[in-house]
Symmetry: C2
DNA sequence: TCTGGCACTCGTGCCCGGTGAGTGCCAGGC
DNA sequence: GCCTGGCACTCACCGGGCACGAGTGCCAGA
């Protein structure tokens, strides 16, 4: 195992490199940190750290930079989560209050997170299947056309157009609405399919077609593809690193445009607690130079969705983790209030 | 006025520069185009074009590149709109069909436009005020809490939570819903404020507070700030020009993140016909190296919103204009069907 | 009015040596 | 046994000098 001092050297290297964005040498390290030993000793420690694969030098006669493995050790053992300052906390609250609907909440959260971390922010809408049903509405728009509106306890509203096989009367629609709601309100969306399974049978023959069509549409909205939505922001922050990954920016932007990739990325994060994936730990090859910090959020103790940031592996992990966690908590509160 | 041949030279310069991304010289020009004259003659023409401000040279002993004024002349007089190939048309239709709701339509449109033009695509949601009301729904979620849902003929659905001053009965809510809808359904949202102006007066004293609150919320959703929404995509295409504007990419990304800027940009476009704004014609300083091609779209003959692309001034104008126009038409069709 | 010729400009690429940051190693000291 | 100062070595980076060539403007002649 590495000695205490060597870990300290690694921590110093990570901190300096994150700050200066330049390979750090033994002399600079002893000048900027009170390690209590000479550069020569640090050099020996650095050689050892390099043997273990925690740091590397871009070329001979340059300083060292942390490897993915080095960052991993730093995040796991050496760094805590830096709590936000109280002005920052107030700013978060002020910024998130006053959102008029869920789109607004998510939009503000993305901007806030991007601004706080100065990185690319990704916020997932509350998952339908993990939310509970607040109300299901059926609106007759034309004789054989109904709009289905789903409302969750997190404020998410989804609507679908339903083309019925036959004209529907106002009365039978009201009937369906009432019976549907009595079964599903307050239940989790994930349970809805089995809760409504036998519903068509309880209707008159003539309405069964309509009921089945409506239910089919309802179930379709719960399919993963349509139920998962997200918003991203702060992509301009990618350009902050234009000098050290000028062409790496492209695959990242491309990955960010692929909702599938992002959803997978967030999906891989643990449901509870914070997940940090560093460089090559990300499966997607466009993101091997980036790290992802993600955390679940929800109105209660259970996560209904995830949010996080994407940035270069050389990021301020303690600060980023602090901001991500704090924002997730506040968003949870806002959702619980609505 | 410029002679026919000089215009031809300008056209050739624009085409070559767009293709090669490099300043074009007199010799290369005569080799690649059948101008019927020698390089020396072309040089004289180029000198004249430069005097008039249509082209410029980045430095002595380099070829010429078009100026914003040169592109302007090219777009206005020299270039047509290039119609799409029929496979492209089919691809558009296939891609846009199968959208499940408006979000999906807009999302697909953005991706489609970005892919076709290989540039950044911007699509505005149908404006509320320019759409007509299909239905207004009031859902009781709690004794003194109502969800207001607006549905437009373009398929856009907006919802707002309303906290009422007093508990509302199911009956009075139904009453309000009925009276409200009878007044506004089929009318334009822009006219709604005056249509509902005297509505509270016709209610019992005890319900007036609730009615006013609901109406106030309704009117709030029509305020410009919340009513305008848009989606962008294809930002990864910006990196295609990383070698010729490596740091210019940042202000562009920043501008794209500012919804306000984008809305203003689209707002400046003409309601009917296509608008092309080139380089410095854009007021925003982050966008002086980019051009915007925008066009209105709508389910009928009137535009309900705009869409377009943002790209470098050195873009394929005929192709881009063709793609933008075609996509706008198809989106209009899709909206009309829904 | 067009053309070929010619001198000139100047950005680009390349080589090259100096500089300095940083390293690895080693002998000596605590 | 671990730490330290000293020392030779490596090599990226920087700036100057130089050749090259694309492209131009101008002019005389057709």
């Amino acid at each position: 195992m590495l000695s205490e001092r060597r870990l300290e050297v690694l921590r110093a290297i990570v901190q300096d490199y994150v700050g200066t964005e330049e390979p750090v040498g033994s002399k600079a390290l002893t000048e900027r940190h009170r390690l209590g030993v000479s550069p020569a000793t640090v050099r020996n420690d650095m050689a050892a750290l390099e043997d273990e694969g925690f740091i590397a030098q871009p070329h001979t006669s340059a300083g060292r930079i942390p490897t993915d493995k080095g960052y991993r050790l730093f995040v796991d053992k050496l760094a805590g989560v830096k709590p936000l300052s109280s002005p920052e906390r107030r700013a978060i609250q002020n910024f998130l209050d006053g959102a008029v609907d869920l789109d607004d909440v998510v939009g503000r959260t993305v901007r806030l997170l991007a601004q706080l971390t100065r990185q690319v922010a990704v916020v997932q809408y509350p998952s339908l299947t993990r939310s509970t049903v607040r109300h299901v509405e059926l609106l007759p728009l034309a004789p054989a056309r109904v709009m289905l509106v789903l409302i969750t306890d997190t404020g998410r509203v989804e609507q679908r157009m339903v083309d019925c096989p036959a004209p529907v009367t106002e009365d039978s629609l009201a009937d369906l609405r009432a019976r549907l709601n009595s079964r599903v309100v307050g239940r989790r969306f994930a349970d809805v399919p089995q809760l409504v399974q036998d519903l068509p049978e309880s209707f008159e023959q003539e309405d069964r077609g309509t009921v089945s069509t409506v239910l089919a549409t309802l179930l379709e909205t719960l399919v993963e593809e349509t139920e998962e939505r997200l918003m991203i922001g702060g992509t301009a922050n990618l350009t902050r690193f234009v000098h050290d990954f000028p062409l790496t920016i492209r695959p990242v932007l491309e990955a960010l445009e692929e909702q599938v990739v992002l959803l997978k990325l967030l999906g891989e994060a643990k449901d509870s607690g914070m997940t940090v994936r560093i460089g090559h730990e990300n499966a997607h090859e466009g993101l091997t130079a980036t790290s992802v910090v993600a955390v679940g959020y929800g109105s209660g103790d259970e996560a209904v969705a995830k949010l996080g940031v994407v940035g270069p592996t050389r990021m301020d992990y303690p600060g980023t983790m602090g901001a991500v966690r704090a924002v997730a908590r506040y968003v949870g509160q806002i959702l619980a209030e609505s």
